[in-house]
């Protein structure tokens, strides 16, 4: 009897032990099963079309209902983050009636007062702040103090608002007609016709989601550029590859431009090429000037964020790397591979932006970029000093009573020196988009400034 009870006890213990082990095993296997099931669900790529998108849907939040992941990135362009040489800082200000913004970016004029000397007599000497993210493009343009000191045309809307739908509405269905009409309106009138900063429809075809160029400035600019390379009647939307489009949609706005003639037609000066000397040659030929320099009387030019042009001269462009590869890199969300619509500096997203191709630690990659930018920035300062020296020399020569004819060569050099310098200064990469090209341009600029000073001694 005693034997039986011991063996029953022992077998009970054994069963309990097996039960505990199998319980753990079952829990583990079922947990794994559920995990595998979840991963399989992710891989199904569900797409729910909850709204119908048409060629007149300009509200990004409507598009966002069909594409919540992309929209989520897009609305994050409100972030204000500094990098070492770029990026914007959120500065608090007291809103006024004229300017209801409570946050702006830091003033570049306060950071470097030499810019005021360079732009003397031009609206940029009044107010120039570090650019903020896409979300602010319309507000920052509407409320800049530059609006108070000069009358801007409706042309500005081309790149400061989502204009595809407003252009078509204004042109009675014709994009180009709408563009031409808005160019000739006063800024404040045109401002009433637009609502959104850059939106989904500016780069995407609503029925296929394919990339699409909608900005007349680029449609015409790239046609002129291609014509100069022997390609006739270039139609970017029909002839560009998908990878080219991943740079071209950004090139719709991140370019050098001017307003042509009395009708203020937005024009990209590319018919001789994209390099700084090609563009200057273009301006020389049509004798264009942005303004007359207040201190020297030189007919000056202002370069405007020529990112597309600078990028095109660099090693990344040569290797087929488009803007979107670094500024909107692919990211994984579940099993979906999407391009990150939080457009920002690659320095804030080195893992996805750089390490896809460059297998080195983040710190080292950042170091490499900052080395290039540091060198560019230091040479930019040298060029800026040289330009200020030239401007001061022309000023004193002017007060000393030299004639316009005697000052002409020095003014010409000033025009060139400051356009070259501004081509790097206004370009938003501190040289990174094309390091050697940026350095070359700054070297030329310094030379022009010094040659200008020499010309005054003759």
């Amino acid at each position: 009897m005693a034997d039986t009870s011991t063996s029953t006890k022992r077998s009970f213990k054994f069963v309990a032990l097996v039960a505990v082990i199998t319980t753990f095993a079952a829990v583990g296997v079922v947990a794994l099963l559920m995990n595998i099931m979840e991963r399989k669900q992710e891989a199904r790529n569900p797409f729910y079309r909850v709204v119908e998108l048409t060629d007149t849907t300009d509200s990004p939040d409507v598009w966002g209902k069909n594409f919540p992941l992309q929209y989520d990135g897009y609305i994050r362009t409100v972030d204000q983050v500094r990098t070492r040489y770029g990026g914007s800082e959120a500065i608090q200000r007291t809103p006024t009636n004229a300017d209801p913004r409570s946050v702006v970016a830091q003033s570049r004029l306060e950071e470097d007062p030499r810019l005021k000397t360079m732009w003397a007599g031009y609206a940029f000497a009044q107010d120039f702040r570090e650019e903020r993210g896409h979300a602010f493009m319309l507000d920052d343009q509407t409320f800049t103090e530059r609006q108070a000191v000069t009358t801007q045309p409706g042309t500005c809307m081309h790149c400061h608002a989502s204009v595809y739908v407003p252009y078509k509405k204004l042109g009675g269905g014709d994009l180009i007609k709408g563009f031409e009409a808005m160019n000739q309106m006063p800024y404040t009138d045109a401002r009433k016709l637009v609502t959104h900063p850059v939106a989904c429809i500016d780069c995407h075809d609503p029925s296929t989601m394919q990339l699409r160029v909608t900005r007349p400035g680029f449609l015409e600019g790239i046609r002129a550029l291609k014509a100069s390379q022997g390609v006739k009647d270039y139609d970017v939307n029909a002839m560009a590859s998908r990878q080219e489009m991943r740079a071209y949609v950004c090139g719709q706005c991140h370019v050098e431009y001017y307003f042509k003639g009395a009708e203020k037609r937005l024009t990209y000066p590319w018919s001789k090429g994209l390099k700084v000397e090609n563009i200057l040659e273009y301006y020389e030929e049509i004798q264009f000037r942005d303004w007359t320099h207040a201190e020297t009387g030189a007919e000056a030019l202002k370069a405007q964020h020529p990112e597309f042009e600078m990028w095109s001269q660099g090693i990344h462009a040569r290797s087929g790397v488009a803007c979107a590869d670094c500024h909107m890199p692919y990211k994984r969300v579940g099993a979906l591979k999407i391009s990150d619509h939080h457009v920002r500096s690659p320095l804030l997203n080195i893992n996805n932006a750089c390490q896809t191709c460059h297998k080195w630690p983040e710190e080292e990659l950042k170091e490499r970029v900052e080395t290039i930018q540091g060198r560019t920035f230091s040479l930019r300062n040298t060029a800026m000093d040289a330009l200020v020296d030239l401007i001061n020399d022309i000023k004193s020569a002017r007060t000393a009573g030299k004639s316009d004819a005697q000052l002409a060569p020095a003014r010409k050099y000033q025009r060139k020196a400051q356009f070259y310098l501004d081509f790097v200064e206004a370009e938003n990469s501190t040289g990174f988009h094309a390091p050697q090209e940026a350095t070359r341009i700054l070297g030329e600029s310094i030379n022009f400034s010094r040659l200008g000073q020499v010309s005054l001694k003759k």
């Binding site: 069963v15 199998t22 296997v29 994984r332 390490q355």
Partner: protein, 151 residues
């Protein structure tokens, strides 16, 4: 029914349940596909989709599968590598603890470096000449995209 039979039945049911759930999981997760050479198996879990899509369009798709370049020669080496990678990849993917974009580890890179020799031994010999002993020649830095471009 005496207590011995009861214990036996109970244990059998316990173990059978676990084996059953395990077998179902194995089939549901396409476990047997990992014993084959079919590249689609490597993209069973979506993390390798980019590599798989790249391979489909690569110059080597007609002559080499994943296993040709990512496992060593010989039955033992091949299945040891599959087993080890299979375990660690599953572990990483299940826990979600891995570097993105995914990167090949040194050990696996060495395997791939050697795998070029399975077909291209002649040309590599011609390059190495008499220095074969101390050669650290690798095809990968320049020809890394022949299998699959990942950008």
């Amino acid at each position: 029914m005496n207590s011995g039979t009861f214990t036996g039945l109970f244990l059998g049911a316990l173990i059978g349940t676990v084996v059953g759930v395990g077998a179902y999981t194995f089939v549901y997760a396409k476990g047997s596909s990992y014993l084959t050479d079919n590249p689609a198996a490597c993209a069973n879990c979506h993390i390798m989709n980019d590599q798989y899509d790249g391979w489909v369009k690569s110059s080597h798709r007609a002559v080499a599968t994943c296993n040709d370049c990512h496992t060593p020669d010989g039955f033992f080496g091949k299945y040891m590598t599959k087993m080890s990678n299979g375990f660690w990849h599953s572990y990483a993917f299940t826990t979600g603890d891995f570097h993105e974009p995914i990167e090949i580890k040194q050990h696996n890179r060495d395997i791939t470096r050697q795998a070029c020799r399975k077909c291209h031994q002649d040309i590599i010999e011609a390059i190495e000449g008499t220095h074969a002993e101390e050669s650290t020649l690798s095809c990968l830095p320049c020809h890394g995209s022949v299998g699959h471009l990942t950008r």
